[in-house]
């Protein structure tokens, strides 16, 4: 136990307050996402993720959203086990024929209002797999889709950006805050 406490203290909080690697800067996106979730979803956006036949690359990056760097729960976003609890369906594809009905049933089980995001090149347009005897291709060929997050796979920061873009496109357009004005809400305290 002492080892764990020491490690926890030494590592501190790594959740990203600053731009990370390549891709969109989480320090700008995060507070906007939190704001949108707070206004539109009363502080809680429930996501049900469905793998409809992906290569599992997208799943690895969606899982990474929960690691301490992205810690997506701090913006009020959480992954739920049932589509009946979900506001948003996050679907990776291509949709295999063998998953076609399961995906449709999951979509139908969601309460209204509901949104659907197709993730990855495959979810967006079938990607490397396209349409074949075993693949329906893009997610929109099976259920209605409200937006896509491209990438193979999209990085966690791109996923955050894509979710924000879907729930409040206007917020994404807001220019980066002026350095002289108030800084974006600090995330350091969590």
């Amino acid at each position: 136990m002492f080892r764990q406490l020491t490690r926890i203290c030494r590592v501190g909080i790594v959740s990203e307050p600053t731009p990370c690697g390549r891709g969109p800067a989480l320090d700008l996106l995060g507070p906007r996402l939190e704001d949108a979730v707070s206004r539109i979803f009363h502080g809680s956006l429930a996501i049900r993720q469905v793998d409809a036949g992906s290569c599992n690359g997208c799943e690895l990056e969606i899982q990474a959203l929960s690691n301490p760097y992205y810690a997506i729960e701090r913006y009020g976003i959480h992954f739920v086990a049932s589509p009946r609890h979900a506001d948003l369906l996050l679907v990776t594809g291509p949709v295999s024929r063998h998953m076609q009905t399961a995906l449709r049933l999951a979509y139908e089980a969601m309460p209204e209002p509901k949104r659907v995001l197709a993730v990855g090149h495959c979810g967006a347009d079938g990607g490397e797999f396209g349409v074949s005897y075993a693949s329906c291709g893009a997610v929109h060929r099976v259920i209605p889709v409200d937006g896509v997050i491209r990438g193979c796979p999209p990085s966690p920061a791109v996923l955050v950006q894509g979710i924000l873009e879907l729930i409040d496109p206007a917020l994404l357009q807001v220019p980066a805050p002026d350095p002289d004005s108030d800084p974006p809400a600090s995330r350091e305290g969590l």
């Binding site: 036949g53 929960s66 086990a81 295999s96 063998h98 399961a102 074949s132 193979c152 990085s155």
Partner: protein, 531 residues
Amino acid sequence: MNDPMPAESGSGLPLYVQPVPPDSGRPERSSRPLVRQFVVAPENWARLAGDAARASWRWSGIWAEDRSPVLELSLLLERAGQYSWVRTRIPLDALRLPSQTSAYPAADRMERRIHDLFGLVFSDHPDPRRWIRHQGWSGEDFPLRRMYPTAGRPERSTPPDADYPFVLAQGSGVCEIPVGPIHAGIIEPGHFRFQVVGETILRLEERLGYAHKGIEKIAEGRDPQGLVRLAGRVSGDSTVSHAWAACQAMEQAAGLPVPGRAQVLRALFAERERIANHLGDIGAICGDVGFAFGQSQFGRLREVFLRLNDELFGHRLLMDVITPGGVRCDLPADGASRLLEERARLRHELATLRPALADNTSLQDRWCGTGILPGEVARTLGVLGYVARASGVDHDLRRDAPYVPYDLLEIRVPVADAGDVAARVRIRQDEIDISLGLMADLLDILPDGPCQSAWLAPQPGAEGLGFVESWRGELWAYVRFGTDGLIARYHPRDPSVLNWSALEHLITGAIVPDFPVCNKSVNGSYAGHDL
């Protein structure tokens, strides 16, 4: 496959198996596992399995190809780091063959798969139910036959596979728990049918095939670049290994030498893939027993690790870095020093985390004795990688059948006997440590020079087999070119194909709440299995 033919008595296979003279036109250019080719008459197919099993050959996989007017079936056996590739041919109008499943239980699902995709009937198969086919095509259609159109004959809506005949259990207090194909977490699709009494699992039956998207069919007619892109998406977590195996096979078929620098960089990528996956999985295995500290710490280490992949090589998971003839990106000027710096940091972190896991009694209580896979069962099922090594099977291609550049390195292979979740975690921790060492060794032997050779058009009909010890275990790919320099057949064999059956065995007698941690400790790829 171009190796000198040994004396018949030395082949280790019975005399009714005919050796194929090696193709002497092309000299062996690089070190790779020794593969000897044979043909056998169809009537001896089952007898061969019995004799080979008695002679301790390991069953590694089968694949088929429609070579109208015959179906060509290939079997790969391995013993002491040497492979035997045995083929047989069956007329397409009389597709029957005795099954090898009674001699090799590992053959069970692979034979059923070949039946679903090619229509070959394994006459005395103990379980003739369909496997990879759900309702996406009819029982009279066989998608991998040449005449079957790639687009298939799809219905507008594919019905669910509701009437699959699961094995039933009856008795006082026995009930069934159906789970999937959509699971509670962020994971791939598959169905598990548990039969339980109270919390205790009497039996688990897996039903896979949900992620089947016709990879083998859509590979046909691709050019080498197109194939390696597809191979990199057979299983996203093994993108380097599958791309490497496919490239090895294509390069072997074309007789294309790969620059030394590219060979070493490929191995560097493969070791990084191994470390990243083990880090993520150990974190998830902690998370599955509610140990949030471990999940956070290992998740953090994985993230830092992936970010360096992105910075140095342009992709977090290293997709598309391997290309036919070499690699697409060179190590940046400061790359070696940054990799060594990362290695030292990671070693230091793991040295403090490892005892934090080992000394945590409530954690070890959940891991030790959970999900035991006895060594004997692991051998019978032909299980691979860390799952096998945690059950006492001392096997690693990098050491036993070394391919370039591992022939230049000394590979330590960790083995444990307990076969439980704790042992699989321990093996994975050891493998991270060994791979970190190998990363430094690889940087030491990294030669200067180009990273890529220009593609060389292969002879019509040229074929190759590529072998990689992926992070999950032995992985190989078969490629045959057509007359036009395009792919005529591609079959990737992911280790998950053999490892999935281990889960059914090791979960028997465990409690339902231990299923997630047992599943994660094995971590089969649904995509890699379903293709």
